[in-house]
Amino acid sequence: MQYSQVDAEARAIGRKFDLVVLLSTFLVLIAGFHVHQMLVAGDWSFWVDWKDRNWWPIVAPILEITFPAATQAVLWTKFRMPIGATFCCLGLLFGEWMNRYINFYGWTHYPLNMVFPETFIPAAVVLDIVLMLTGNWVVTALVGGELWGWLFYPTNWVMIAPYHLPVEYQGALMSLADVINYMYVRTSTPEYLRIVETGTMRSFAGGVTGVAAFFSAFVSVCMYVPWWLMGAYFFGSTKFFKTYEATPVEARQH
């Protein structure tokens, strides 16, 4: 057989293995990232009336920089692919939309504009670009982590803004999101009527979001570091442990 034919065959098989690696990694990261996200920040993701300007921009970014940081640690350092964060967040968005559309909307008939998820794609692209340009994970933690926290609210604002419009409903002032919440009762709805901005938060009014994003960015930086390290040294470890049977006899006697 000609060398070129052998070469083509080898390359075709290599490409197939590449695809298996990419597809399986994508699917299992959806599984892990989505179950993590829905159980640490899910309520803010499920309901438009939970997407407030105080806690949502804090909780969501700091808990969702986790998988992107760990994935970047391997995809960048071992595969030179500057897509770790975007890869994770795209998978998360896919997992969320599958359920919001098929189940929240299709099965139990909540309107889609009540249950659409947040997006991390813009912040993830920025996080990946910072890592690609600097090639340094500490700088990515410091600069990328800050941007991650800062960018979350503005990049979701276009979707959220209409629901924060004030309306008067039965003599009370509330947001459009709150009215939607009244219309579509869910389990334990009374406990969901949250007055988010209380005490001094309320008197500082418009300043709340900026402070929340600033705080969120700080914690995102702090979260990035352990998750990068876990990705690099634990989940990305290539360690083998010998079984008892495979351990040499001399070693067993000590």
Binding site: V6, D7, E9, A10, A12, I13, G14, K16, F17, V20, V21, L23, S24, T25, F26, L27, V28, L29, I30, A31, G32, H34, V35, H36, M38, L39, V40, A41, G42, D43, F46, F67, A70, T71, V74, L75, G95, M98, N99, I102, N103, F104, W107, T108, T187, S188, Y192, M230, G231, F235, G236, S237, T238, K239, F240, F241, K242, T243, E245, A246
Partner: protein, 279 residues
């Protein structure tokens, strides 16, 4: 280090048809069809027959399904894992490079099927359970969405995950005599989500705390879900060996023998050894 020295013409190549997507296509296709049918079943009988645990309908439509699936899962798991073990390769040190490469392809498809099942269980059906609880109050731990999520979708991915690990341990030199840390986490950590249901159900039964999905009671699921990230280390172990096999079979480069890999699997993922035989 002793290495098997050969030339390109001396190494048998596996037929290109050996690297077919067919088996994964059938397995994942069957799972997708099954999941669609399950969704149809839920739409037909969850609200109509699944709201009163004490009713006769509940007994036949939901508890019947629960017992049937638990039995089927136990039988399937024992059958598949047992068969993989009984048919294990007892002469792995004489494994030919072509056969080893074919087995890595089969393992890749096995892992791919596992990851689909894990997606369906941990992502799709788990958030679907949120949809269910936000719509109805359950009167039993065996509420319809749990019969599907906990006792069906989770065991299915465990069957494929453990199955793929047993396949690797019984048929590939890298995994035959040593435990791979990332691979065991990739399979074992998501598998622990199923036992964690015990904690979850006891907590919900005792404290009746359905209104918050982010309740700390749920964080056991979260921690075990992190194990999904270990697929990164798993591929970092597998890729260098697959690359060495391709380089050996198609380009005649030297390669570690199966016996050497079995004796010291760590050496097969050594970046230096890998770089020496890069394409």
């Amino acid at each position: 280090m002793a290495q098997t020295q050969t030339t390109a013409t001396a190494v048998a190549r596996p037929p290109i048809t050996a690297f077919s997507w067919k088996s994964a296509g059938i397995a994942i296709g069957a799972l997708v069809v099954f999941d669609v049918l399950i969704n149809v079943y839920e739409r037909l009988y969850a609200f109509s027959k699944g709201l009163d645990y004490t009713s006769a309908d509940y007994e036949s439509y939901w508890m019947g399904m629960l017992f049937a699936e638990l039995v089927l899962e136990a039988v399937t798991a024992a059958g598949l894992w047992g068969w993989l073990w009984m048919t294990r390769d007892r002469a792995l040190d004489r494994l030919s490079p072509a056969e080893e490469l074919k087995r890595y392809w089969a393992l890749g498809l096995f892992v791919l099927t596992y990851t689909y099942a894990a997606y369906a269980g941990a992502s799709y059906f788990t958030e679907q359970d949120g949809t269910w609880h936000q719509t109805v109050i359950r009167d039993t731990d065996f509420t319809p969405s749990h019969v599907i999520e906990f006792y069906q979708s989770y065991p299915i991915y465990i069957i494929f995950g453990v199955g793929s690990l047993v396949y690797a341990m019984t048929r590939l030199p890298q995994f035959a005599k040593a435990f791979s840390l990332p691979y065991v986490i990739l399979v074992g950590s998501p598998a622990m989500i199923f036992p964690n249901v015990g904690l979850n159900e006891f907590g919900h039964t005792r404290w009746f705390m359905e209104e918050l999905f982010v309740a700390p009671l749920h964080w056991g699921f979260v921690t075990f879900g992190w194990g999904a990230l270990a697929i990164l280390g798993t591929w970092l172990q597998i890729c260098p060996r697959v690359l060495s096999l391709i380089n050996h079979i198609y380009y005649g480069k030297p390669i570690q023998s199966p016996a050497e890999v079995m004796k010291n699997p760590q050496s097969s993922v050594d970046p230096a050894a890998c770089a020496a035989c890069a394409l």
